[in-house]
C-alpha cells in the first residue's frame, strides 16, 4: 500500500484552508528504507511525506506532548492507531475538533526483517474506527486469535515460565522508553516516576523492573491496542507485548469479548462491569 500522494494532497489542502497547525506523518529515512515520524508546521515540507507498509510508528503518540496537545493537528492513523486515538478522545486527552484524522485501511506493516509484523498478522481491526477521511477500502473486522507466543508460554512449566520472565526483567534497563512511546501513557506525572520509594521500586533491579512493567501493563489492561510502539522503542528488544496480550486475552475471554478502543466512549474493561462476570475464581 502506498498512499503518499493522497496524504500529501490532503495535508496541503488542510494547510491551505488553515485547518491545522501541525501535520504528523511519516518521512523516509535517509540511510535505509525505514521511516520516521515527521512533524511539520511548514507546507514546504509536505513533499517529504510518505506512507507505505513501512510506516510503522503509531502517530497517536504525537498528540501527547505539550507542543501539540492543544493545537489543531492533522495526522495519519492505521487501524490500531485509530483505536488508540479513540481512547484518547474518550479519556478527554484530545478534543475531536482539534484533530483531522486521515484513516488508512491498513494491510499490515513490515518489521525490520521485511516480513509482516506479528501484530498485523493477528490484527482484529485493520480499518480506522475514527476518521475524517478514509484511504483505501475497508476489509472489516477480523476474527480474534490468541497470540502465538502466549499459547507457547502457557504450555511451559511454571518455574520455566518464571525463569523466562525473570530474564526479561533482568534485561530491562528501565529507560521507560516503552512508556514514553505508548500513546496511552499520557499521565501528567507517571506513578512509576514518583520517587517515594516506599510506594515504588525505584531501583533498576529485576524486581524493580518487574514491579514497573507489571503495574504498567495493568494500567493498560483493557486499553492496549497492540500497536507495539513499546516494543519498537525498547532498546533491549524485550517482548513487552506478552504482558499486554495476556491481559487482552483474559479480558476478551471473560468480559463480553471486550477489545480496547473499538467503540466511541468505551474506556476499557476496568471502567465498567457486568453482573455476569466470572465469579468462579472467588472462594
Amino acid at each position: 500500500m502506498d498512499y503518499s500522494k493522497q496524504i500529501q494532497e490532503i495535508a496541503s489542502k488542510l494547510f491551505a484552508e488553515n485547518k491545522i497547525d501541525y501535520f504528523v506523518g511519516y518521512k523516509q529515512n535517509s540511510f535505509d528504507d525505514s521511516q520516521v515520524p515527521f512533524l511539520i508546521t511548514d507546507p514546504a515540507e509536505i513533499p517529504k511525506l510518505v506512507f507505505t507498509d513501512r510506516s510503522v510508528f503509531n502517530l497517536a503518540n504525537y498528540l501527547k506532548p505539550d507542543h501539540t496537545k492543544r493545537k489543531r493537528v492533522g495526522l495519519v492513523v492505521k487501524g490500531c492507531d485509530s483505536r488508540a486515538l479513540n481512547l484518547l478522545l474518550t479519556e478527554g486527552q484530545v478534543k475531536r475538533e482539534n484533530v483531522y484524522i486521515i484513516g488508512v485501511c491498513c494491510e499490515g506493516v513490515l518489521n525490520d526483517k521485511r516480513e509482516k509484523a506479528q501484530n498485523c498478522v493477528e490484527c482484529v481491526m485493520p480499518d480506522p474506527v475514527v476518521y475524517d477521511e478514509m484511504l483505501g477500502t475497508p476489509s472489516g473486522k477480523k476474527k480474534y486469535t490468541v497470540n502465538v507466543d502466549i499459547k507457547e508460554l502457557a504450555k511451559m512449566a511454571l518455574n520455566e515460565r518464571a525463569d523466562y520472565f525473570e530474564s526479561i526483567f533482568e534485561n530491562c534497563i528501565r529507560c521507560n522508553a516503552c512508556r514514553h512511546s505508548c500513546p496511552l501513557c499520557y499521565c501528567a506525572k507517571c506513578c512509576l516516576d514518583q520517587e517515594t520509594s516506599t510506594l515504588y521500586h525505584g531501583a533498576n533491579t529485576s524486581s524493580g523492573a518487574m514491579h514497573a512493567l507489571m503495574t504498567w501493563s495493568l494500567h493498560l489492561a483493557g486499553r492496549c491496542v497492540d500497536c507495539r510502539n513499546c516494543e519498537k522503542a525498547c532498546p533491549s528488544h524485550l517482548p513487552l507485548h506478552l504482558l499486554h496480550k495476556q491481559n487482552e486475552n483474559v479480558i476478551y475471554e471473560n468480559f463480553q469479548q471486550h477489545l480496547a478502543g473499538m467503540e466511541k466512549d468505551d474506556r476499557g474493561a476496568f471502567y465498567k462491569y457486568s453482573l455476569s462476570d466470572p465469579d468462579d475464581f472467588i472462594l
Binding site: R70, E91, G92, Q93, Y186, C187, A188, K189, C190, C191, Q194, T196, T198, L199, H219, R267, F270, Y271, K272
Partner: protein, 657 residues
C-alpha cells in the same frame, strides 16, 4: 519525626490469657518511632483512657496505637480520648489483637503473640503515615422539594411541612391528587377515595409551609445533599391564578370539546378546564393544543366572559429557581397499554375496557354518574368478565413483575359492580390471588361469598363477538376444561408501569433506575427510601408497584429522613473521603465513571500559573463522597488519595510485617 505511643490492652484475660502482653510491649519498644509503650488491664476504661491522655501530653506524641479489640468496637472511644488530650482524633490506629489474634489462636500462644506483634507493627507503620483530619460540616438549606402531587407527594409534603420545614411541591398536571383522585372507593375498607384524599389536598393548598407549584416540571437540579439548586418550569396556563376566582364561567362558555383524560377519555372536557370538580388549586388552565384562540388566533370567548380578566393569551412558560436541601421523588405510575392482546380484540371491541375506565364509570362523580355502561350501546351490563394479569407476570407480551394491586382492585370492582347493578354477575379469570395485607384476604373472600363472584383460575385464550355479546373463551384449570362466558362487558386488569419519563427525570436528578424505569433505592432491604444519591428519597410507585397504605407509609418515611437530614444547621461528615491532587491529575475522568455517587465532577484550571490555556481536572464533591476508594484504585496517575486509607498508609502496613 514521628513520636508514637503504643498502648496494649489485656482486656482482662481475653487478650492476656493467650497473648504474652509484656513481651509484645518489649517488642514495640524496640521500634524507632515508638516513644512509649505501656500495657493496662482495660484500656477502654476511664483509667486506661487517662493513661493514654497523660502519655500523649508527657511524650508529645504525634500518633497513637491502641492494641486491643476490633476498631469497629472502640475506635470512637479512643478517638475521643485523643481529642480530649488535644490531639487530632484521626492520628489513632487500632491494632485488633483480640478478634484477630487472642480469640482465634487460643491453642497456640506463641503464634498468637508473634501475630499480635506484627499487627502492632503494622498499626505503627500506618499511624506514622496518618494525616490530621477534620470532620467536614456541610451547610444545609432547610427546604424540601417534592416532585409529584399524588398521594405520596401530598403525604410527604404534609409530614415535612408539619415539622415546620418549608416544602416546594411540584405537580406537572393542573391539579394535585394524582391517580388516587381518579379512584372511586378503596380496598379493603371501601371508604370513598375522594373523601379521604380531598381534605389532604386542601391542607396542602392552605399549609403555611407548603409552596404548591402546579402545572410545572423540574428541569434541572445541581449541587449536592443539603445544597441543591432546582430549576422549575411553570408551564403557561394562560390564566392568571392570582386574580382568577375559579367561578367556572369560562369552562361553561368554551366552545371547544376535548376528550377528558381524567375520565379516561370516556367523556369530554373543554379546552379551558379544571381536571375535576375538587381540583386543587381549583383554577382552570387553557389546553394550548386545542384552544382555537391559541391555534388560530380567533375565538377568545373565555376572555370575553371572564369578569376578572384573568385570561391572558400572551402568557409564556417561566422558569423559577429554588434552593433546596433534599428531594422527594413521587412521580407515581402509568398504566400499561393492553394493545398487544389482539386475541382479546383490544381496540376492536368497544366493550373491552380497562379497570381504570371501569373505576371512573362506577365513580359517583364519573362520566356515567356511577353506573357502569357498555361503551358500545350505553346499556347497563349484567355479565361482566374481569381478566387479571393483563401485562403483569407476562414476559411474552408485557412485563415480568407482579403489579401487586390488581388482585385487590379486581375484587373491589366485583363488589362495586354488585353494589351498582344488583342483578349483575362478575366472572374473574385469574392466575393466582395475591392478597397479602391487613384485611386483604378477608376482602377477597367477601367478593367471592357476598357478591358470589365466579373466580375462574386460568388464562383467557380468546374473546370474540357474538351478536352484541362478547364470548370470553378461557380455561378453568380447576376443572381442567375450556369454559366460555357470555359477557356484556370485559374489564382488563392492566399492569402498572413506571412513568415513561422516569428515566429522563432520573438522569436529570442523577439517580439510578432499573430496566423497567422504576427508580432504584440505595439498598433493597436496609435503605428502601433513599436513592444512591444523598438527599434524594423515593416515595410510592415511582420505586415499585405499591398500594395506598404502603405508599403513604413510604412517604412518611421519606419525611422522617428529610427531617433527620435537616435536624441541624449543618451536616457532620466523616472526613475519610477522597481528595484530588491537581498537579498529577491528567483529566482522564475514569474516576467520574466509576464513582457510584456521582461525587466527582470536572473543572477547568489554568495549564500553569497565569497561563490562559485551560486543562480539565477532576473535582471531588466532599458533600457527596462516601469514601469507598473506587476512584483511588482506578486513578493511574495516583492523583487521588483516600484520607485514612492512603497508599503510603497501606504500603507501610504491608512492609511492616
Amino acid at each position: 519525626m514521628a513520636r508514637v505511643g503504643v498502648f496494649v490492652c489485656y482486656c482482662g484475660a481475653n487478650i492476656a490469657g493467650v497473648v504474652d502482653v509484656p513481651a509484645v510491649v518489649q517488642e514495640a519498644k524496640k521500634i524507632k518511632e515508638v516513644k512509649i509503650a505501656i500495657e493496662y488491664k482495660y484500656m477502654c476504661s476511664d483509667p486506661g483512657q487517662q493513661m493514654i491522655r497523660d502519655a500523649i501530653v508527657q511524650n508529645r506524641l504525634t500518633s497513637v496505637v491502641v492494641a486491643a479489640c476490633s476498631p469497629r468496637m472502640h475506635e470512637k472511644t479512643f478517638r475521643k480520648a485523643l481529642s480530649d488530650a488535644g490531639m487530632n482524633p484521626y492520628m489513632l490506629e487500632v491494632a485488633n489483637i483480640r478478634e484477630h489474634s487472642s480469640w482465634v489462636h487460643q491453642k497456640d500462644k506463641k503464634a498468637a503473640t508473634d501475630k499480635a506483634i506484627d499487627l502492632i507493627r503494622m498499626a505503627i507503620g500506618k499511624s506514622i503515615a496518618n494525616e490530621q483530619l477534620h470532620e467536614i460540616s456541610v451547610p444545609v438549606t432547610k427546604r424540601a422539594l417534592v416532585i409529584g402531587g399524588g398521594i405520596a407527594g401530598i403525604q410527604a409534603a404534609l409530614d415535612i411541612a408539619d415539622a415546620r420545614i418549608p416544602v416546594t411541591l411540584v405537580e406537572k398536571s393542573p391539579s394535585i391528587g394524582g391517580r388516587m383522585a381518579q379512584l372511586d372507593e378503596t380496598f379493603p375498607t371501601l371508604d370513598c377515595s375522594q373523601c379521604i384524599l380531598t381534605p389532604k389536598m386542601v391542607d396542602v393548598a392552605s399549609h403555611p409551609y407548603i409552596e404548591l407549584i402546579p402545572y410545572s416540571e423540574v428541569i434541572e437540579l445541581d449541587g449536592y445533599v443539603g445544597n441543591y439548586k432546582a430549576k422549575i418550569k411553570k408551564k403557561a396556563s394562560y390564566v392568571d391564578f392570582s386574580t382568577c376566582t375559579g367561578c367556572g364561567t369560562c369552562t361553561q362558555k368554551c366552545p371547544v370539546k376535548v376528550p377528558n383524560e381524567f375520565n379516561m377519555n370516556l367523556d369530554k372536557r373543554k379546552a379551558i378546564y379544571t381536571p375535576f370538580p375538587q381540583a386543587v388549586p381549583n383554577k382552570p388552565v387553557i389546553d394550548a393544543e386545542h384552544c382555537t384562540m391559541l391555534l388560530k388566533g380567533k375565538c377568545g370567548i373565555c376572555a370575553k366572559f371572564c369578569e376578572k380578566g384573568s385570561i391572558n393569551f400572551k402568557m409564556v412558560d417561566e422558569v423559577i429557581e429554588r434552593e433546596i436541601g433534599a428531594v422527594v421523588i413521587a412521580t407515581g405510575y402509568d398504566l400499561w397499554d393492553p394493545k398487544p392482546y389482539e386475541e382479546y380484540g383490544v381496540g376492536r371491541y368497544k366493550d373491552i375496557i380497562t379497570s381504570l375506565e371501569f373505576e371512573r364509570m362506577v365513580s359517583a362523580s364519573g362520566p356515567t354518574n356511577g353506573v357502569p355502561i357498555r361503551p358500545s350501546d350505553g346499556k347497563v351490563p349484567r355479565n361482566v368478565v374481569f381478566i387479571k394479569c393483563i401485562g403483569s407476570r407476562d414476559e411474552a407480551k408485557g412485563i415480568e413483575y407482579c403489579s401487586k394491586i390488581c388482585c385487590m382492585y379486581t375484587a373491589k370492582h366485583a363488589i362495586l359492580l354488585h353494589h351498582k347493578v344488583h342483578d349483575s354477575h362478575a366472572y374473574i379469570f385469574y392466575m393466582d390471588i395475591r392478597a397479602a395485607g391487613k384485611g386483604y384476604e378477608e376482602f377477597v373472600k367477601r367478593a367471592q361469598v357476598e357478591t358470589a363472584a365466579t373466580y375462574l383460575r386460568g388464562r383467557v385464550s380468546k374473546i370474540y363477538k357474538k351478536g352484541d355479546k362478547l364470548m370470553v373463551r378461557g380455561e378453568d384449570a380447576q376443572i381442567g376444561q375450556v369454559v366460555e362466558v357470555e359477557a356484556d362487558l370485559v374489564v382488563l386488569a392492566t399492569a402498572i408501569t413506571a412513568p415513561k419519563d422516569n428515566p429522563a427525570l432520573a438522569r436529570l436528578l442523577g439517580v439510578s433506575y432499573d430496566k423497567y424505569g422504576y427508580l432504584s433505592e440505595a439498598h433493597p432491604k436496609l435503605r428502601p427510601v433513599e436513592t444512591a444519591k444523598a438527599g434524594i428519597f423515593l416515595a410510592g410507585c415511582t420505586q415499585a408497584p405499591k398500594d395506598i397504605p404502603d405508599t403513604v407509609a413510604q412517604a412518611s418515611a421519606c419525611a422522617a429522613k428529610v427531617c433527620g437530614l435537616f435536624s441541624g444547621d449543618t451536616m457532620k461528615k466523616d472526613p475519610m473521603i477522597s481528595t484530588i491532587n491537581n498537579e498529577f491529575c491528567s483529566g482522564c475522568q475514569n474516576c467520574v465513571k466509576v464513582c457510584p455517587y456521582q461525587a466527582i465532577v470536572t473543572e477547568e484550571i489554568p495549564l500553569g500559573p497565569g497561563s490562559k490555556e485551560m486543562r480539565i481536572v477532576a473535582k471531588i464533591n466532599e458533600g457527596v463522597c462516601q469514601g469507598c476508594g473506587s476512584c483511588v484504585a482506578v486513578c493511574r496517575s495516583m492523583a487521588i488519595s483516600l484520607a485514612g486509607f492512603t497508599d503510603p498508609q497501606i504500603i507501610n502496613e504491608i512492609v511492616a510485617i
